[in-house]
Structure formats: C-alpha cells, structure tokens
Symmetry: D3
Subunit: 227 residues, 6 copies
C-alpha cells in the first residue's frame, strides 16, 4: 500500500557498475535470466525505436491528471538514475514534456518509465531523452494533489522498489530487484555467451529440434507426424 505525501531522500541504489552493464544484455535476456518475471505490461512502448538503457530506479507516485510530484522527484535524481512513475489509477494524460526532460537530463537521469502519457515527443526524440510510456498525449496536467517519491510502486504491473535496476529497450521494460542485480548480470551474461554458438548452428540449417534434443520429449508427449 502506498504512503502518500512523503519523499524518501536516502535510498540504497544497486551497484552502479552492475546497473550499467545490464543495458547491453537487453530486456529479453535479463527477463529470462531472472526466471521470466519482473516484466512490465506490453502496453509500455518506447517513444522512439532503438533506445536501450539501464539504470537505478527512483520512483514517484502520481495522481491522475496531476504532475506535481514529477518536479519533486527531479531533485532526487542522481546521475545514472531512471525515473519510474506510477499512477494511483489508469490515466493517459501528458504528465511529462520537453521542459521536465531538460531538467531530468540536467540532473543525470537516463530515461523515464511512466504508466501514463507523455508529450512533446518530437522534441524528446531530438533530445534523445528515452521514454517508455503507456500513451502519448498533449493533455496537460495540474499541480494540486500530493503523491510520493521513492516509495515502492506498482508500475505497469511490476513492483519497483527505489534502487532496483531498470532495463528497457524496444522489447519492453524489466525491473531487477537490487538484491538480485549482480546474480542476474552473471546469469544473463552466461545466457548471452551461449547465443553466438547457437545462432551459428541455426544459421547453418541445424534445427532447434535437434540442437535442443526435443524430438524425444515431443514424442513422449504424444506428437504424431502424418504424411
């Protein structure tokens, strides 16, 4: 449950080196390495293709149609952070635009992940400020009601605790809990290492059926071939 009207200033961030390295592995590999969990809903889409980032989460909880707390969270950003914005209810208003992006970028933020709408996407794209959002909307917001900063939030179906590592790319957004970041990096790196060899085999025409030795379990499950 959410505590409202509070800003936690001291959060324990995941190790920066670990956080930095996860970007290159990508969300699909990271998500597999964690045991296929931690993924946000598929409606979270990047505003431009090709961005691939990772960083430590600072979180903010917003009220519908109200972006006041985005100004509050800006002060808590440290270089290498990704801002994760959750909402108390479904709402697609344009909470974030080029002015806030300028401020976030100046503070060292690498990206915004928001379970709501954003605007000025043309300018954001020119600035190369990466955003994953639920919607794009010109709709402006008010500054009237408090939310919170750096409390655990549910964003697009995923629990994000301040200091966790966020990985985001064209495939989606994954949250890696701080305590698991190092082990996840190891597991994901190992997965990645195997992929080159597999790719070469498959490219040469070897079938996954044979490479993964699936023919026997498929037969055991009852698969029948009919000519």
């Amino acid at each position: 449950m959410y505590e409202l009207g509070v800003v936690y200033r001291n959060i324990q961030r995941a190790d920066a080196q670990v956080a930095d390295k996860l970007a290159a592995l990508g969300t699909s590999t990271v998500h597999e390495a964690m045991g296929r969990v931690g993924l946000m809903k598929t409606y979270m889409r990047p505003i431009y293709a090709g961005a691939q980032v990772s960083g430590t989460a600072v979180t903010v909880l917003l009220q519908p149609g109200d972006n006041w707390m985005l100004h509050v969270v800006a002060e808590q950003i440290r270089p290498g952070d990704i801002v994760v914005a959750a909402l108390t209810t479904d709402n697609t208003d344009g909470f974030f635009g080029d002015l806030l992006a300028t401020s976030f970028q100046a503070r060292g933020a690498r990206a915004l992940v928001i379970d709501g709408g954003v605007r000025d996407v043309k300018t954001l794209t020119e600035m190369r400020f990466a955003v994953w959002s639920r919607a794009i909307s010109s709709k402006g917001t008010v500054k009237a009601t408090l939310g919170s900063v750096n409390i655990p939030v549910v964003c697009a179906g995923a629990l994000v605790t301040p200091g966790d590592v966020i990985v985001a790319d064209d495939d989606g957004v994954v949250c890696v809990p701080r305590a698991m970041a190092s082990a996840t990096l190891d597991a994901a790196t190992k997965r990645e290492a195997n992929e080159g060899e597999k790719r070469a085999k498959l490219a040469s025409g070897v079938l996954g059926l044979d490479m993964y030795k699936m023919r026997e379990p498929l037969a055991a499950a009852g698969l029948k071939y009919i000519d």
Copy 2:
C-alpha cells in the same frame, strides 16, 4: 445531433493567417493555451512521425464500412483545409487510401483526421499526405448510405464545427473553435515565448521546485521529507 444527407457548401472558415500560424506552436502548447480542452482521444495517431500541420476544418460524417461521403467532401475542400471525418459508430475499416489522398491533395487539403481506419499508408507516407487515424486497415468500404458534409461532428471525443482550426502533430490532434482561434494564437505564442528562458534555466540545473516556487505550496499541502 446529426442531420443526415446534407452538404453545407458555405461555411465560415477561421482566419487563414491565424490558422496557418498555429501549426508551429504544436498541439501541447495550443491545448494548454485553450485551458486544457479540445483534445481528441489519444488513440488518434499519425501514420508517420514528424508531420505538424494546422488548417481549417471541413467535416464529414461517415457510416460504418461506407466511404461514399469522402468523395462528396472532396468537392468542398479549399486550399488550407483539413478534412475531419467522424463516424456514426466505432469502425476501423480502411475508408481512405492513395486515390482519395491524390484527390484531396489536388484540392489543397493539408491533412485528414479520421476516427476510423486508412490504408495505402506506405504510399501516403511517400506522398507526404499527413493522416491522423484510429487504425490502419486494408479493409475496403462500400458506397451505399448517406452521411453529411460540413455539419458539426464529434470526432474522437472532440466537437468539431466546420471552419474551426485543427492543429495536429506527433502528440495528437486539437480543435480550436473559430471564435477562439485568434486569442488562442496569442496565448500560445506567449506561452512559447517563455519556454526558451525556462529551458535554459532547467538545463543549467535549476529545479522546477525553485523556478516555479513550489516548495511552499508543497509544504502547505503536507509534503514530508524523510532522510
């Protein structure tokens, strides 16, 4: 309520110079300048990124799966117009393709805004004929049932009266009532003028909290910082 089977030939268009100038300000600024109203639903998306237009609305009401009236509205287009197509019910068929776009472009239309589907989007993109639509669909339509041209319509949740100004970009589509176009241009221009200075301050690391003097009202609302 809609009057069916009628074409209004004489509509009073907003001042062309005002209509033309609104494009450069963009939907988010224009929408704010109007007091945060007049925006179409966020499901209205451009078929290609980067288009930014404004113009005077000629409206058309379509029946589901029937694009007959798009041929009727073509004749009413004047240079500088944007066609706004509403539907009597939710329907995503491909009402509009490259042939109609050729005709609209020849008549001087700047764009189409349609609460339905369009097709031939690859060709439309090559032609640089801007379209904001609810969907993309190959599904063809019949020509069997009358709608109307140049009556007030509700398009994607926004009331559009013929002659109003339409502003559209990557953030969405806004309708500016004709009677408010001039005042909106003034207000939007003023907003825009302030943005450069704000952006510079934020880029230098000044916080919105300080620039907008939010610390006091936030404290008054009860915001607590916890170390």
Copy 3:
C-alpha cells in the same frame, strides 16, 4: 475444431509463381480483389515499416506461454513459405526471437505472422526478418504442451489453411485461399492496372464524384446541398 498433437508433413502449396507475384499488389488491392474478405484483425502490425511480402502458409497452433511448436514447424518450412502462428487463447508473450528467426530464415521462410507477441525486435529488424504480430514482449515461454502443425487455424480472425497464400504489408495481413490464388492475382492485377489512369485524373483535379459518376446515385439517395 483443432486436432492437437499432430504435424502434417505433406501439404499442397499454392503455385509458387502466383504466390510470389501477389506481394507487389499489396494487401489492400488483394483484399478488394477477393471481394473484401480474408483480412486479419487490424491489431496485427509489422515490427518495422516498409516490409511487403507474400508466400505460402505453413501453420502452427500454439498454447499460451508455450513456443514448443515453433521448433516443430521450423522443420516443415520450405523456401517461399510464411509461418502463420495461431493461439488457443489470447496471449501476448514473446514466443519468437532472434534465434528462431535465424532458423526460420535458414530454412527459407519469408516472414512470420503470429497472433501473439515477439521479442528481439531490434535484431529482427536488423536481420530484415519481417514479422506481423499482435504485440511485442520480452516475456519468455516454456516448452511443455503440444499444439499442432499444418492444420487449418484461425489467426487474428482469419481462417488460414496450410498452403494458402499470405500477403502482408504496412496495411495488414490477408489470406488468399489456395484455390483462389490464381483468380485473385488476375483480378488484383486488373484493379491495379486501372489505378494509374485514375490517379492521374484525380491529381489533375477531376473529382471522384464525376469520375465515378456518383452525382446521380447520391441525389437518388436523397443528398441535399445547402448554400
């Protein structure tokens, strides 16, 4: 109804030359040529813009969250095929990524059409392996439950029988039954042939109202012009 746990190895594919030629005509023309039927739901979108393909369908039925059968269908692919993946229920997990794409491409597949999610879309785009899907998702899948290969399936609302021709482009995905492929090619080619002349007329300012002789039927239907 679906037969589960079977792989049909011998399917009768539509004529390869006919299948190849349909790509150039595009889904909107082909769909019209068939009498406006055979189109998949509009939620099926390409992972990158500009791909335009046709080929013969090999089909696969998948269980939710389970991509086992994609490995089985890989063996049944012949050069010129397009894999059509249907699901037993709505599910947007990432059933397909760059490794399977490498395998499919090595077997000669031209594209994947899947009523589910895919991942590694950045790599797939670099590989130029065309995919039309319901969603993009990092979510991995298991290999535990059988589906079937090369049975008739309903994919995104369209019935696809193995060997049918699939046509896909930026406008969507159409299925042309094998028995109708040749006649559809003829009809679509004829439609296309007329379009150049029409386009030139419309570009010169001639109205569809006149070119298609619509004024009389519109008046007969009761259309009224008001000055």
Copy 4:
C-alpha cells in the same frame, strides 16, 4: 471547446411533458426516430438492469480524479432532470456514490449519466437511483480543480447541450436535442404504433423477407440461392 470555471444557472429545458413521454419508447426506437444518431458509446452500461428513464439534461464537466463539480451541479438540479457528467480525459475513478445520490435524489434528479466510474452500487441499486456509467470503481476522488456546469459537453461520444432530453435504458443512452424533442416524440410514437402489428405477423411465421418486400431488392443486389 469547453469554457472552464463557469456555472450557467439559467438553461432552457426541453418541454417537460415531451421529455417525460420519451422514456416509454426506449432508446432504440428513439434513436431510430432521430435517424440513427445521438447515441452514446456502448461502454455506457446501467448499474442495474431494467431502469428506463428520460429527463432534461443538466451537464457537468469533471477533471480526472476530481468530483468537486458534482457538488456544484447538485444545486442546479430541478425535478425531472438527469445529470450528464463528461470528463476532460478518460478516467474511471469512482466520482459518485450513495451520499451524492441521496442529494441528487432529494433535488429531484432521475438519473446520472457519467463517462467515468461510480461506487456504492449496491446502495444505489437499493435506492433505485439509476446510473449509466463507463465503469464501477471504489477509487475516491479529490476536490481541487474546477470544471464547469451547464456548458455543452461531449459525453461518451455524444454532444449534450443543457436542456436536451436524455433517454436511457438497458440498451444504452440517447441524447435528443431540445429543438427536436417534440418531433422525435411524434416520430418515435408512430414507429412504436406499427410494431404491434409487425410483431403479430412475424410471430405467426410470416417472414420479414415478405413483410418488408425484400426479395426483389435482394435479387437486384445479386443474391443467389444454391440448393
């Protein structure tokens, strides 16, 4: 476009007798009598089955997550009115519950039509206070930002001007413009009068094909029977 922060106290209501009589005809007949227009989106559903009402519209525009203006509109209700609540953006919070319903009922309101959420539906059902809404939600709202009362609004896709007649039943919600209320009542009554005879014929086994003389136009359209 919406004017914000205003309450119009004097609105011209449709004739009360006309407004009262439309309920009995139901939305489907009334909607047909108007030429098949004026219907709200189908996501507007009654909180309990069987309610069938009509009355004059008082309108209110709400901000997301903010029900302040529902208290303002309460004062403008007169016996026989139906409150129509539109929103400036999509939002499903629970704007309305049993306390406001008690107040509305005391003022003589017959129903609420709201393009948002409501709560306390069990109590509302016991009170027999009819509500058509987009959603049901426990989510409470704040009282911080102004909307307006008795301005024209777009509610669930339909334009509603204060004083129009609202008709609502299990099939949906229709808005009849004040100026057309009397003519619509006449047309709807006439439609209804014919239905008894038609029903008797159809119940006796006569086909619509014959009763409506459709066989000839169907054949003319090309319908073929195959044995």
Copy 5:
C-alpha cells in the same frame, strides 16, 4: 475466404438428438471433451444469466452496420437451430432486436450467437430468447449490402461450419464440428460422470494434490516447501 451474396439452402445438420443432449453438459465440459479447442472469445456474453442451450448452426455473414442478411437467414431456420452471425469487420451496432427475435422464435430458433451488438435486451429477456453477443447497442442498421448465409464463418475467433453444434451457457460459447458431435457427447458424458465422485471427495476435505496424485510430479518439477 468468404463467398459473398450466396445462400446455401441445403446444409447437413448434426444429429438432432446429439445436438440436444450437449446443452446439459455445458460449455466447459464440452470444451474439455474436445481437447480444449473450439471456444469463442470471452467477450461473447449472454444478455441474461442462466440460459444454457445447444443446437445446430445456421450461419450468416453480416456487413458492418447492415442487418439485411438476418432477414435472409430467418427463412433458413429449422426448429432446433441456433443462428451464428459473423461480421466482415469489428462492429458493435444493434443488428438484432425484438422483432427479429419474434421471427426467429417463430421459426424454431433456440438462440442467436452474434459477433456484434443487439438491442431490445429487456424485451428479449422477457421473451426468454437467448442471445450471446459482443455488445449491447441501440444503434440501428441499414439494409444495403449483401453478405451470405450458410457458408463457413469465423465468429468471435471460432470457425463455424453450417450444421455444427453450438453449445452456449454462462461460461461462453463452444462450436462442436458436426463430424465430432457424437464422439464429443460420449467423451463429455464420461467426464461428467466422474465429477460427482470427485466433488464429494473434495467436499470432504481431500485435496486435489492427493486425489490427482500431484505431489510427486510437483516435486519432480522442483517445487520446494519452505517453513
């Protein structure tokens, strides 16, 4: 692919006795008995709770916003039939109301299953004419464009061939292919026979874990209990 403008008068219906008996088993049991296939999308909902029917399918393909073919299909209904209405595109208009229901009932139809909207639901409920539909809508339709009768259709994601058995209840709608109706009845009856004993055991507190002997496979799959 759909053939348009045709009515097949002679279809081979599933055995009436088999068709009749499937109702009592319900959709969930029948769907399991077929191997978990043949189910329509979950958006198909009954207009009133408690109806449970089965019957032989007569099919009709409708154009968006056009119910002409519902009058054509009425003539093809025989006692014991269920009308299955598919659409060429997504559309929620009210294609069917109390007059058509009177006609269908007079012809002996047991229900309507429609991938679109219906209206007059209060009257339909009073008539006890069962309908499963995608939506409820007052929106009327035109009679202008041909579809077809008794061709195979895809309705709400399921392939329905004329003469198949339709089973529908509060859980949804299932299509049983004619050729499998008898075997499905046997399998479903057998499933049902086992349920009484299972229910008694479970009611007495025996766990499914033990009754279905799941503890060993769960442990083999790696399940760990932590105290």
Copy 6:
C-alpha cells in the same frame, strides 16, 4: 520480483477479528480510510452481485493457461482466508471451476480473487462461492509449469503480501496491508459513523456545497456563476 517454484507454509496473517470486521465497511470506505490506495483495477468484477467479504490473503502465482498451483495453494488455505491469484502475464483462461471451489470451500476459503478467468459460474453462484475475476471463460488449463504460493504478488495492479486483508464487494477489491489493518478498521469505522448524519442532511435537501463549506474555496478557485 517473483521467486518461482516455492511454497511458503508459514505466513503471518492479519488479526482475524480485524479482518472479519472490514467486510461490513465495504471497499469504498476502506479504500478512502487508507488514503485512496490499494485498489485493484476496475476490470476485476464479481461473478454475481451482492457478495461482500473480507479475509486474510493466501497468494498464488500462476503461469498462463496453467492452473497447477491452484491445487497447491488449496492445502495452504485456513478458514477465513481469501485466495489471491496473480499471473505472470495477461491471460483470461478459465483457471478455476466448481471442483476447485468445492475444495477451497471445504478448506474454509471465503472467496477467490483472480487476475484471470473462471468457469462454471452458474454452479459457483449456486454454491455462493464468491469470485472476483478478470474474465469468465470455459477455456481449460494444463498442469505443467510451476508458479509459487504465498510470495508477494501484483494482482490486477495491487501489491498483495500473504497475510494482508482483502476486502471485496460490488465496487471492487481492496488490499489492506497487515500492518495497517487495525488502523484502517478504526479510520473506516469513524468515516462510516459520520455518514448517517450526512445522509440525513442531504436527504432533507441540504446541499454538499453548504454541508462541506465549499462555496468559499470554489470562489477562491475562480468559479463564476452566470445567469
């Protein structure tokens, strides 16, 4: 992030007396008492109207199309519990039916809250086993892949920790964290106590404007009355 393949047998449940008393207050009051947080998404609907329950949460995480873990969680149920089932991805299959309900009821469960589908709803309704679900579906599931029991889960957008209190009624589902259950009960009871007096005033015609002293803040916010 989710730990997979584990069952926590010892969880600390909220005080039973507190848990029991929250039902009578209802979700809307409880949600307000917590500061307007903790609510599940509005797509969670009861399978029958009128149920109003509260109890302690035992949680289960399910894989798409797989209900194996529902049998595992059954053993962990104690009288007074409510089972909360989350999914690793969006899926509406029918995970739960009358047999599992019989077992859950025998173990003392008061209800099921599931972010997926259920079936046999007619029987569940007769049994008066309350269920809040995302969907109703006949679609059966397999038993092949592990999830977990009694780990913290995100269900329909709300974080639920085993032992928390769940409150559910016609308005939706709320999760009250165990540590806050007692304070929430006090706050909710206090809110409830005030409502009778308010209701009486409003019923007598007193306006909320006056009762809540809103006229001054509305004027301060700039509200204008126009005659």
